[in-house]
């Protein structure tokens, strides 16, 4: 009886790829899918800003409000934090725990400076009476840039958590996996920031 069954299964056509690539660790793919869904959130916020970004309600325009020097410094901070995180990953490859921690710390400092400058800018805008309630342009601006800032905040919290973990348990496979995920998250935030400074700040100031 079993012989006939085998015979039958052998004759059945196979509708799936037998030599499909099974990624040995699906965490990276799963995290990438999370990033893509995050990308959709930002796409919607960018679209909102694209639609509402010219509705000033007789209020201040981007050219009146934005100080491009601060934005340039902010961009430099995020770019530097990206490369220092890359160095941390290279040290992780070399199994150098102390160097990894140092580079992660430097990354965190750059991230914190970025956040401080952004908060200063927000405070300055609200103090000038250009808060999120002033016009549709400012509502969408604060939502988009604020969401990015919130991501950076959580990235820094995650970074500090991982520094503690690495300090306690060393560069074990679990911590390596977590560091890889945060690496993707951090570089992804930098990619979003390229969109923010090009589309919101520079195009806004051009008018």
């Amino acid at each position: 009886m079993s012989a006939t069954q085998v015979q039958q299964t052998d004759e059945k056509p196979q509708f799936y790829l037998t030599e499909d690539h099974h990624p040995e660790n699906s965490t990276m793919l799963g995290f990438w899918l999370y990033l893509m869904s995050d990308c959709l959130i930002f796409a919607v916020l960018f679209a909102t800003h694209g639609v509402l970004g010219r509705n000033y309600a007789a209020g201040p325009s981007p050219a009146d409000l934005f100080d491009l020097n601060i934005v340039a410094i902010n961009t430099a901070m995020l770019l530097l934090s990206s490369i220092t995180y890359g160095f941390a990953m290279l040290q992780m490859e070399r199994n150098a725990k102390m160097e990894t921690l140092v580079w992660l710390g430097i990354t965190g400092v750059f991230g914190a400076i970025f956040l401080a400058l952004e908060l200063y800018e927000f405070y300055h805008l609200i103090h000038e009476g250009a808060g999120p309630t002033r016009s549709a342009f400012l509502s969408s601006f604060f939502t988009l840039v604020g969401t990015h800032g919130l991501h950076v905040t959580f990235g820094i919290i995650w970074l500090i958590t991982l520094m503690v973990q690495v300090g306690r348990h060393g560069l074990i496979p679990e911590n390596r996996r977590r560091l890889m995920c945060l690496s993707m998250f951090w570089h992804f935030l930098d990619v979003i920031w390229i969109g923010v400074f090009s589309f919101v700040y520079l195009l806004g100031v051009i008018g």
Binding site: P23, E24, M36, G50, A57, A58, S82, G86, S183, F188
Partner: protein, 130 residues
Amino acid sequence: MSPNHESAADTHHAHSHGHDAGHGSFKGYMTGFILSVILTAIPFWLVMAGVLDSKLLTAVIVMGIGVVQIVVHMVYFLHMNPRSEGGWTMMALIFTLIIVGIALAGSLWVMHHLNQNMMPMTHEMMKNMP
């Protein structure tokens, strides 16, 4: 599953360790960084120094360089390539890009004439609005 099948899967598994994606080199990171610095400096310089007279041309260049820089970051920092995870990361990325393209282009297109049917209003009326 027959024993024969399992051993085939095992050898395949061992083979797939060869091209582990997500690891960069010092050279790769530095290349990406230098390219990003250049690609960031150009649009800021164009806008802050007001190099070009045409606003439209400046806007097009700024957005174009932005797209190039995003690709640079994807390749050198996020280590995107068509082979990582058996091509699924690239598939997810392409899918997302299509959705993003539809959402952005569609929103801007549909909402282009948002203010067309509004009552004409002077600057003073606008200022005295509640």
